[in-house]
Symmetry: C2
Subunit: 433 residues, 2 copies
């Protein structure tokens, strides 16, 4: 009669069966606990946003080609949010007068990008967003980068597993506009080339740079290939030491060392895609030699509230996606064990015993023991097999004998050990688990 | 230069500022803990679903007029899910061979409805979905209705604050098709009238019934106005006692009493909107005389997997929305207190003290003490005022003296009490909180 419906999820999004949901919940839990330990408060918003929100400041490419945007029945243009920063800026701009700065906020929203799904990039992913608002000083960077580092450490990563690359939009602008005096269009083109450098095949970057800024291209390429901050600065004019971007990087790296972060390095090649960054940008890289890759990153965006016609609020933050975090956990053998859905499974021998079993289950639940009752009345061996398959660690079998005596045995399915209790001893049972 | 952007959220959806997010998190926490105590596992899926999923079995009105549906760039028709049941049915149908029944699953998805926002009904809301799959017997109803009741009790509601109304699609069909022998179209019309009964003005229901089933309308109206199950059954033919729906209701109410649920009543007027229900349906009502209203509900849907061309899997479940739960908590004075974003706020006197302060903060965080550091170097009074405004209960002030001596005081902002510690005594501090 009706056409049969496919059981496939929509292209590029994921179904979370309980085993996957448990991993997702573990990832969110570590993120939340870490961020909250620094005194950050959670906020949230709808995945539906007016499209105007993205037109003002995101990269043009992102809004036009990469978002889910449609018209509602009231002819309003709406988008599925592709990133969270415009939303949090909107929320803060909307209640600016009610807040006393600084604000330490975080969220773990789902985000949509309209692109062809590939490893590590889905059409929908979740992303931890951590932002501090109202702090101009470099201490904002120190704190937020500390959080970024601590999140990875709390997942079990070691300092040597990742590297925090740091750059400043101020340095990029200084190089392109002041030192090389490029016009806006050429500067934009060169920025894009630097951003894509690691993805280009050998020599392609150099060739493109020679085509774009013919005259001083070898000077530029030498500068860009500097091995570290000292070498980079030594290749700049002496006055560079007065450049604000240069001074900030120097201070930031030294302050990060003071708070125990020793894997932060300057990287003149670090661009980050969004148009709204105004100062320090950073990106965390996996140092695994088989798979060097960007894990996540962020930056300073002091001008974003401008789009709402509000006073500027300095802001620094990052976003860390769930897909790559899960991938990293797999790579480093840090995946959590699948949690059992219950602590105790009560097998029931016959219909007369179901009342006793349910009362017992209720008593256990009141003591925070997660308890399921089998009411299939199938063979007890099949009931136990079900508990075992679902990795439930303990069982209790209830039949006529148990109902009459009020006594029952709690059996550990791993060791086979059994201990007898009555229902006045529920507290003792929870100690077994 | 750029057009200024509005700070308003999209129509009918909510921004969750930290105070609202804390309430939302509290609601989700109580839901999760309750459901998990019964051994249910969490699953999840994307809010984007192929529109076909809803065309097969949801009420026609829901798909055509009330969903957000649009075409993606690949010309696929996609919807923002208006309900979770088709999604969970799709997921189970897709991996049916891998599972051993029963499955106890829950989720707290966001759902979208395209309708004009009004009190208690938003365009986006979150909904706890609890379902058991693979159980034909009434024990599925007993367990899931127990969970529904326990969720409300764990929010602090008393038995007398709510009533669980129960009906069966089998009884409705028996009345309309067998007793009154209505044709399908008239039966459908009468079902809709019963569903809307409480929302119609006095006498309108009776008038509409008289128009629709002229001849036997008074007999019908008498039956429909029965005050309880016994009266209802007494007005049916004697053979009604053999009707499966009647037998099920009888058994269910008695089984619910056995597990301690005494506020369940039969209600011949209970319909529930979705087309896919096949047996028992229930709805929880707020008994507050100022605001009698449906809180949430669910039912049995044994045929839903049919739309995927799979074998049938018996299923029973409910969905409970966040908006009305929050409203109920407010009505009954059960709202949670706003949680402080941190346990301790460290005030910093000068730039020389920031290193000590940050090291101390890090030690505290390792002991699970949520700690924020003030790095504004503003007047200490203003730093304390900030902590107080944010309801952070304890402060530590760090200046030259503390850095030199290595000793510092933890001050309780409510009592004014101060206790001195050194940083080797961090464990002692966590005991203070």
């Amino acid at each position: 009669m009706t056409k049969k419906v496919s059981t496939e999820a929509y292209k590029g999004v994921r179904d979370f069966y309980p085993a996957d949901m448990a991993v997702q919940n573990y990832i969110f839990k570590v993120m939340k606990e870490t961020v909250e330990s620094f005194g950050y408060s959670e906020y949230g918003a709808s995945v539906l946003e007016p499209s105007d929100l993205y037109k003002a400041k995101s990269g043009e490419e992102i809004v036009n080609e990469q978002t889910y945007t449609f018209k509602d029945k009231g002819d309003r243009e709406v988008s599925l949010r592709p990133e969270m920063t415009p939303t949090v800026a909107r929320m803060i701009a909307g209640k600016l007068k009610e807040f006393s700065m600084p604000l330490r906020w975080y969220s773990i929203p789902n985000l949509f990008r309209y692109e062809n799904p590939q490893r590590g990039r889905m059409r929908e992913h979740w992303q931890l967003n951590v932002d501090i608002f109202g702090v101009k000083s470099i201490e904002a960077e120190v704190e937020v980068i500390s959080i970024a580092s601590q999140v990875l450490k709390n997942f079990g990563l070691k300092d040597e597993n990742f590297e925090i690359r740091i750059n400043s939009r101020k340095i990029i602008n200084y190089i392109l506009n002041d030192i090389f005096a490029l016009d806006d269009e050429t500067a934009e083109k060169v920025s894009k080339l630097i951003d894509k450098k690691d993805k280009l095949k050998d020599g392609a970057f150099e060739e493109a740079i020679r085509e774009t800024i013919a005259e001083r291209s070898s000077e530029f390429l030498t500068l860009i290939s500097s091995k570290n901050f000292e070498e980079f600065v030594s290749r700049l004019p002496q006055t560079a030491s007065e450049n604000e971007g240069i001074k900030e990087i120097k201070k930031l790296i030294s302050r990060l060392e003071e708070v125990g972060i020793t894997n932060a390095v300057f990287s003149q090649n670090l661009m980050r895609g969004f148009d709204y960054y105004t100062g320090i940008v950073f990106e965390v890289y996996d140092t695994n030699p088989d798979n060097r890759r960007s894990v996540f990153g962020g930056g300073r965006y002091d001008d974003l509230l401008d789009i709402f016609d509000k006073e500027k609020v300095p802001a620094f933050g990052f976003g860390a996606g769930d897909v790559i975090i899960r991938d990293i956990l797999e790579t480093y053998g840090l995946m959590p064990k699948f949690p059992a859905p219950a602590d105790i499974y009560i097998c029931v021998m016959n219909e007369n015993s179901i009342g006793f079993a349910q009362d017992l289950a209720q008593l256990l639940r009141e003591k925070k023991v997660r308890t399921s009752v089998d009411f299939s009345f199938r063979k007890v061996g099949d009931q136990i097999k079900y508990a075992d398959k679902n990795k439930i660690p303990f069982i209790i079998c209830i039949g006529d004998e148990e109902v009459t005596s009020g006594k029952f045995k709690v059996k550990n399915l791993t060791t086979g050990e059994q201990t007898e209790f009555s229902d006045s001893e529920i507290n003792e049972i929870s100690k077994l688990l």
